[in-house]
Amino acid sequence: MDIKGYILPDELLYDKKHFWIKDKDTFITLGMTDFAVRLAGEFVFVDIVEPGKKVEKDKVFMSVESGKWVGRVTSPIDGEIVEVNEELEFEPEKLNEDCYEEGWLVKIKIRDRSQLEELMTVKEVEPWLLDEIKRVKGEDKE
């Protein structure tokens, strides 16, 4: 779906921290939305975490950097990191170039599937994102 120039794929789920989630039954894939990466600007560093790391819902577990700004990545669910996109270690710009495919961040093993019910479909997130877009005044939409 195109929401005021920002692409949010229909098949993904979203949270209110600008992350996308792909539900793969036993695990989720987590990434940053088109809106988030365009707000951040060019990424210069992605902190690669170790598989096996335990994560908690709404808690910070990794960081990214763009233009001297350290962004904190939170997990939408409790779980455990099972895979990390190591390509981002050498090519952080992939986050900007292809945030939904090659720019995925981590895969998290799901501990409690009921937490996924709090995530939103693209239609559910649309009103919130429209408010976010309004809040971002003076942004160039390419």
Partner: protein, 536 residues
């Protein structure tokens, strides 16, 4: 509109200041405290690396330890900074959805910097924002910035250079390379400034703080009320402090992605000489930082400084570099008589591609001791001669002023002669520049593939275009000691009367010869040795 808090935490050490950063940000994220402008100072002096940096790659740890400079890590991004007791830090902690706060990070940087520019103008300094996140005065950086966020709160911080010691900064921080020549050190100094240099005096600290408060008041449309830390912040600070003192925090273990490689190049044509010193992340192939100096005139005067800023953290891919630099020259109407955007790209690329020498087994500390003429290191092979400088002989050597060597083992030239014999190269000691030129022309006429030689970087810089004109491919290895150029005796050296002694980097010379030599005699000799031992 609700007034913001003005919080002056005074003079604290590095860990205390960093712990407070975390505590205040967490308190703001929970809405326990108002939006805040904080002032901070450091004592004892310290170096702070950015959140994602590796301490030993950015800081000269020995120097800091020996000089009472603490080391710590920020929670914000960006590069390493030296904080001494004269600098002032300013920080904004606020809600992201405050109406005065831009949502786009780039716009946020600009707005925060505008506030400080306003403050500096009050103090009589003509400051302006420099994209992406600095404040400059006459194209010299006076304040750097960085930020981070936590939930709905953010922290934006900046330094203000009031009066600082550039020499200590260059000793404490590895900016941008380990060994800077005098001219490069001077160039680094030209890129920064401080209040004292701009005004000729240091204004009272309270005046500076008052000006900054007025700047933020004007730009954010708010007033400030002095308030201390809240009890919750104090508690969070007490809990956080041990972590910020810990080795685990200060020396956070990073993955090998931070493979920092310092690379240098020297590019010359009719228009002038370009020297490049850069730091490359050899795994991600991004330029961490770059210093471009040399002998050329550039208009506008500070275009090269802006180019350096633009290239910071950029990709080191040749095509992308070329595009970035060409566009920069075009958009900014940059003119460098005798040199083009392409020349600057070539100079930078010459530095970047030195990283490939690591794959050849050349150590990271040796890559910058290798220069090539008429080709790349990878393509120059099968040398037939080893050219050696006469100044490598002892001053009392009977062969000092004539070609030859008795291999008496009193100097490294004898070692080189022996090495040349082992690898079937003809060793030639070059007595003066005319002899060098004659030798190279002769080699070219005889159809030699290439040569290996040893000279100092200053000689290479001076005669690079002569080497290129003659057109004989070669690999040159830097000398290891004080040269005629260091002593201002190059005229004497040119005519063969220089009296000092230099030393060859024998280890590197042998390594390069081994890599490049495929002499049949060498193979035969090896076979002969094996036969002699009865192994065939």
């Amino acid at each position: 509109m609700t007034a913001w808090r003005l919080l002056d935490t005074g003079v604290l050490n590095a860990a205390e200041n960093m712990a407070l950063d975390e505590a205040i940000l967490l308190a703001k994220a929970n809405n326990w405290v108002p939006n805040t402008l904080r002032f901070l100072q450091f004592s004892p002096p310290c170096v702070l690396v950015g959140y994602h940096q590796m301490m030993e790659q950015e800081i000269r740890i020995d120097y800091c330890e020996n000089n009472g400079i603490e080391m710590n890590r920020r929670i914000t991004g960006g590069g390493a900074l030296l904080w001494d007791e004269t600098q002032l830090g300013w920080e904004i902690f606020a809600s992201k959805d405050h109406p005065a706060i831009p949502s786009k990070i780039e716009d946020l940087y600009e707005k925060m910097c505008e506030a400080v520019c306003y403050a500096l103008n009050i103090l009589g300094v003509n400051a302006r924002f420099r994209y992406r996140n600095d404040i400059e005065v006459n194209k010299r950086k006076i304040s750097g910035t960085g930020g981070t966020e936590l939930e709905n709160a953010f922290m934006f911080q900046g330094t203000l250079l009031i009066d600082f010691d550039v020499d200590v900064m260059l000793k404490a921080l590895r900016i941008p390379t380990e060994k800077l020549k005098d001219k490069e050190i001077q160039s680094v100094k030209e890129r920064v400034t401080c209040l004292k240099w701009e005004l000729g005096y240091v204004p009272p600290l309270e005046d500076i703080k008052s000006a900054i408060e007025k700047g933020f008041s004007k730009i954010l449309g708010t007033t400030f009320i002095h308030q201390p830390l809240s009890s919750q912040e104090n508690q969070l600070y007490i809990e956080a402090l041990p972590r910020f003192k810990s080795n685990e925090w200060i020396n956070k273990i990073r993955f090998s992605n931070l493979k920092r490689q310092e690379l240098r190049s020297l590019y010359k044509n009719k228009g002038g000489l370009i020297r490049v010193s850069l730091v490359l992340n050899s795994l991600s192939r991004r330029i961490n930082s770059i210093l471009i100096t040399g002998d050329f005139f550039v208009y506008p005067r500070n275009a090269i400084f802006d180019l350096e800023c633009l290239l910071k953290n950029s990709s080191a891919n040749n095509l992308e570099l070329r595009k970035t630099i060409t566009n920069f020259f075009k958009l900014n109407s940059v003119r460098v008589p005798g040199l083009s955007a392409s020349d600057f790209t070539n100079a930078i690329w010459d530095a970047v591609k030195k990283v490939d020498l690591l794959k050849e087994g050349i150590s990271s500390s040796d890559v910058n001791s290798i220069f090539t003429v008429c080709g790349d290191f990878l393509n120059i092979n099968n040398p037939s001669v080893l050219l050696l400088p006469y100044c490598g002989k002892t001053p009392t050597c009977k062969y000092r002023k004539k070609e030859g060597c008795s291999v008496c083992k009193q100097c490294s030239i004898g070692d080189a002669f022996q090495l040349a014999k082992d690898y079937d190269l003809l060793p030639v000691t070059i007595q003066n520049y005319e002899m060098l030129e004659e030798t190279l022309w002769k080699l070219k006429k005889e159809g030699a593939n290439s040569f290996i030689g040893s000279c100092c970087e200053a000689f290479y810089a001076k005669h690079k275009d002569d080497f290129e004109r003659i057109g004989m491919p070669g690999i040159l290895i830097n000398l290891d000691n004080t040269t005629c150029y260091d002593l201002g005796k190059e005229r004497e050296a040119k005519i063969g009367t220089f009296e000092n002694q230099t030393f060859l980097n024998m280890k590197l010379i042998e390594q390069v010869i081994r890599l490049k030599s495929t002499s049949k005699s060498t193979i035969c000799r090896s076979l002969s040795n094996v036969k002699h031992e009865g192994k065939i």
